[in-house]
């Protein structure tokens, strides 16, 4: 299936207008010896054959419609109301480009403006951008922003070591040697390491191990040293957890996937980014603002574009161009559809069911909960055997996808499993998991 409307007659007429005899003549600028390569690709097929093949490929995956899944670690299985995809599938949203021409893009622009507002509401910050690629790149951009705010006068970044490992790795890739990235394993260590070369402190809450961190205290330390604080948060937690903006964060970023975006093996997701008014001109990414038309009617436009690469080029705050527009729309529709009440409820379901699970698992003889600290919907279980083996047994014998094997991320944690619970994990599923673990420990 090729999506080309031309008939032979049209092709001929067009070539005549162009003034060439054959299409090939239009490619004469290309060195002849590399023209028309023979590509080893599958033979063309029709739509009905393609869908059959893709269905088959998708069936090679273990499908977990009914499989209980306790895997989180940065991407979560939440219920996505049917309205979300209904709106996303509207061609007017799906097949528009970035809203460069505001007069014919008010749909996209207003939706992003609403998205920015909802992100401000959740995080308690003043301004948010139109999105980054994901949580990890949003954090990397936060680091770059902090460095730019200090214009080279502060070049250290202090990262609490329970930030998601992918985020840390991404930040390192982005920053290369533009900054020194140091770790701190506790607020005490942070206090020791912070100095007047520290541009940014990064803390995640709930952290990679699921624990709620006291952002306020970290903010105090950062502020005390004249540095900024970036908080990485799980947006679903913000249905019941204090807004980081109310705890003194200067920048709040995170992964927006839980807000109505399917897991899809890791992407496309949504990086959200919010900060204080005073930093708005250093914030990267697209921003939508209110405007008036020549009759004085209110509308929306992309604004502050002088920060961006297409205007400022090598002096831009970032190179980002295409972002996660449709994913931001998904989050907007999701948050609108759930509303205050529904969103709070999802947050509570995650919290209370996770605590129920932790208690039940903690009560087992050979399993224990690794940290006795407040958490949101994820917690670390210490297993009697390697987490990898526990997971294998869970999958093979009970059809359960277990938690993250922390041995994959952190050395010495081979017996630790990071268990995530969402509203999709019914009490029954949790009880199943607990029974399964019990049997495993007895075996």
């Amino acid at each position: 299936m090729v999506y080309i409307p031309h008939t032979e007659a049209e092709r001929k007429a067009m070539l005549r207008t162009v003034g060439v005899g054959q299409i090939g003549e239009l490619f004469e600028d290309i060195p002849e010896h590399v023209r028309y390569p023979d590509l080893e690709l599958p033979r063309p097929c029709t739509e009905m054959e393609a869908i059959a093949e893709l269905s088959e490929i998708s069936s090679f995956n273990v499908n977990h419609q009914d499989t209980p899944v306790f895997l989180g670690a940065g991407a979560y299985r939440h219920y996505i109301p049917a309205v979300v995809d209904t709106i996303l599938q509207r061609g007017e949203f799906l097949t528009a480009y970035t809203p460069y021409q505001p007069e014919v893009s008010q749909g996209t622009l207003q939706a992003i403006y609403e998205y920015q507002s909802m992100i401000c509401a959740l995080t308690g910050m003043d301004v948010a951008n139109a999105s980054h690629y994901d949580g990890a790149t949003a954090l990397a951009e936060a680091a770059i922003m902090a460095l730019q705010i200090y214009r080279g006068k502060r070049t250290n970044i202090l990262v609490l070591d329970t930030v998601h490992p992918h985020y840390l790795q991404t930040m390192k890739t982005y920053l290369q040697d533009a900054a020194e990235i140091q770790n701190a394993s506790s607020i005490e260590e942070l206090r020791l390491k912070i100095d007047d070369n520290t541009a940014l402190v990064v803390v995640q809450s709930p952290d990679y191990l699921g624990r709620l961190r006291h952002i306020e205290s970290f903010g105090d330390v950062a502020r005390g040293a004249g540095a900024l604080l970036a908080a990485v948060v799980n947006p679903i937690s913000l249905g019941m957890i204090k807004a980081p903006g109310d705890s003194g964060a200067d920048i709040v970023v995170g992964e927006g996937q839980p807000l109505g975006i399917p897991l899809s093996y890791g992407g496309p997701y949504l990086g959200f980014f919010a900060t204080r008014n005073k930093h708005v001109r250093r914030m990267s990414g697209r921003i939508v603002g209110e405007a008036k038309d020549i009759d004085g009617n209110p509308g929306y436009v992309l604004t502050l574009s002088t920060r961006e690469q297409h205007i400022r080029r090598e002096r831009a705050t970032s190179n980002i161009c295409t972002n996660q527009g449709l994913m931001a729309l998904a989050a907007t529709v999701y948050l609108a559809a759930l509303g205050k009440n529904g969103f709070e409820q999802v947050s509570k379901l995650c919290y209370h069911r996770a605590h129920y699970a932790a208690r039940e698992i903690g009560d087992l003889d050979s399993f224990s909960i690794a940290y006795d600290e407040p958490f949101f919907n994820e917690f670390v279980v210490e297993c009697p055997i390697a987490a990898r083996d526990v997971n294998e047994q869970l999958l093979d014998n009970w059809g359960i996808i277990g938690g993250r094997d922390l041995g994959e991320d952190l050395s010495g944690m081979e017996n630790h499993m990071l268990v995530a619970v969402t509203e999709m994990n019914s009490r029954d599923q949790i009880d199943q998991l607990v029974s399964a673990l019990e049997e495993i420990s007895n075996a």
Binding site: P31, L41, E92, F93, Y97, M118, Y265, A336
Partner: protein, 496 residues
């Protein structure tokens, strides 16, 4: 107001989608973590559907009509892609699931890697980058890593033609290099003499867009690559314009060391009003060890994995792996898998022959349009045949009318405007890219509208200067918006 803000709909206490009640013993949240206020909309599901349905109708989109936005390759987005990308087996899989439970995903990613290698003539491909600019970052960081790996530490400059997209210089700076601009010559090519002067032992590489943003194929591309290579630099190709070259020539064969693809342009995945994109990078042998990971590799001699693909020895087993000297991770997880499915679906249907036909017709359409527009507007490089797009100058003699005015007036005629004011080296640029999926009658209708607009510009310029007249809203004041920032439904930041 075209449509109220979602925050201005509904009333306090109204509920939308409902969730089950808490069915487990509750655990109190420590006070210090408690939230006091949650300012989210309180609307019904019907309010939501109506609000976003009405908003959507304020947009122009490919689904409504011709969208010749240069450099953006606004081709038809096949609906089959949306169906395959939504297959439950794909959408439900968690990125950290064990490899043996996601062999379908890995199979698809592996073949997409292979196909992109083949299409671009590269030795390796990483699907990680999230968009074109992200691919650029990956590419320039690889060039950096390559030189550093060889201990060649003096190279701190990236050469970039003046016609380049803004992401190229921005990427260069982000990657810790200095961007050095190369002028274009009167035929729209890179000025070869200037390039020769700039190539030296501090040159890390060249970032080139070929066909360029002028829609022109570099006439001395082989000399250019040779010049850069011979001074020890590498060549980065911005693949945004790959639609012109599919099955016609391969950047790898031209000597490019690295190039990003824009799956959301060339490979038909929708733009979604600004994203998501996907910007895989292809590289030559020497950069292969440095590509960002994880990538998918096959293994043939696995023994005890139980998978949908069986344990037959002929059938490989796929797994994620981090290349040897990888520049590392560019984001969490493994790239925009949902976009990969769409691109796979597209390439799978077209095959080599279909891809070549895409490029041929994209270029035919652009040349046809160029020939017809040449009678209406000045074309700075109108003497050359163009590739998939071309640039016109949107101004008229003795007239106040500018490219922007023509663009806004095109809206009144039911068309999306071309790209405005880019590339920067063309006065009042109107960059026009029709793509292969547009029919002759669509192009003819566009030319006819343009002809009428140019006539109007002479008879009644006011009509253009105050356009659009037939859009959901009149012309918006972007300058004032940037001064008087209002970025959130309730917060009112200070005036500048």
């Amino acid at each position: 107001m075209l449509e109220p803000l979602i925050y201005d709909l509904g009333v306090a206490g109204r509920r939308g989608v409902k969730y089950p009640a808490i069915d487990v013993p509750e655990t109190p949240l420590p006070d210090e973590f408690k939230r006091n206020e949650l300012n989210l909309p309180e609307v019904s599901e019907s309010d939501v559907v109506r609000h976003f349905t009405r908003l959507s109708t304020l947009n122009y989109s490919i689904d409504r009509g011709f969208y010749p936005l240069g450099s953006c390759t606004m081709k038809y987005n096949p609906r089959i892609n949306e169906m395959t990308a939504r297959l439950a087996g794909f959408t439900r899989s968690h990125p950290l699931q064990p490899d043996e439970t996601v062999q379908g995903n890995l199979f698809l990613m592996y073949y997409l890697q292979e196909w992109l290698k083949e299409i671009g003539g590269f030795a390796a491909v990483s699907l990680q980058p999230a968009a074109g600019a992200h691919g650029e970052l990956a590419g320039i960081l690889m060039i950096r890593a390559y030189h550093q790996d060889r201990g060649d530490l003096k190279r701190d400059r990236i050469l970039i033609p003046d016609s380049a997209h803004g992401t190229n210089p921005a990427t260069t700076t982000m990657s810790g290099f200095r961007a050095v601009q190369i002028p274009s010559d009167e035929r729209g090519n890179i000025d070869l003499e200037k390039l020769r002067d700039l190539c030296d032992e501090t040159t890390a590489g060249l970032m080139i867009t070929n066909p360029s943003t002028l829609g022109l194929f570099e006439e001395q591309i082989e000399e250019i690559v040779e010049l850069v290579h011979s001074c020890g630099g590498l060549v980065y190709g911005d693949g945004a314009n790959m639609n012109a070259l599919l099955g016609i020539t391969r950047p790898g064969d031209l000597g490019f060391d690295v190039m990003h693809y824009n799956l959301h342009k060339t490979f038909s995945t929708p733009h979604g009003g600004g994203g998501p994109g996907s910007g895989p990078v292809g590289v030559s042998e020497r950069l292969a060890p440095f590509i960002p990971g994880p990538i998918v590799i096959p293994e043939w001699n696995s023994d005890d994995h139980d998978t949908g693909s069986g344990s037959d020895n002929d059938i490989p087993w796929y797994r994620l792996a981090m290349p040897e000297k990888s520049i590392g991770r560019l984001k969490s997880f493994h790239g925009h898998f949902g976009v990969f499915i769409r691109a796979y679906t597209y390439i799978r249907q077209l095959g080599m022959e279909g891809l070549r036909r895409v490029a041929e017709h994209a270029v035919l359409n652009a040349n046809y349009l160029q020939a017809r527009v040449s009678e209406l507007l000045p074309l700075p490089y109108g003497d050359r045949s163009c590739m998939h797009e071309f640039v016109a100058e949107g101004h008229l003699e003795n007239s106040d009318v500018r490219a922007l005015d023509i663009s806004k007036r095109l809206i009144d005629y039911g068309f999306h405007p071309p790209t405005n004011y880019f590339p920067l080296i063309v006065h009042e640029a109107l960059m026009i890219e029709p793509t292969e999926t547009e029919s002759k009658e669509a192009l003819d209708a566009f030319v006819e509208a343009l002809a009428r607009i140019i006539d109007e510009a002479k008879q009644n310029p006011e009509l253009l200067l105050t356009a659009p007249h037939n859009a959901p809203i009149r012309r918006l004041d972007e300058v004032q918006a940037a001064k008087q920032l209002v970025l959130c439904c309730w917060a009112r930041p200070e005036v500048e």
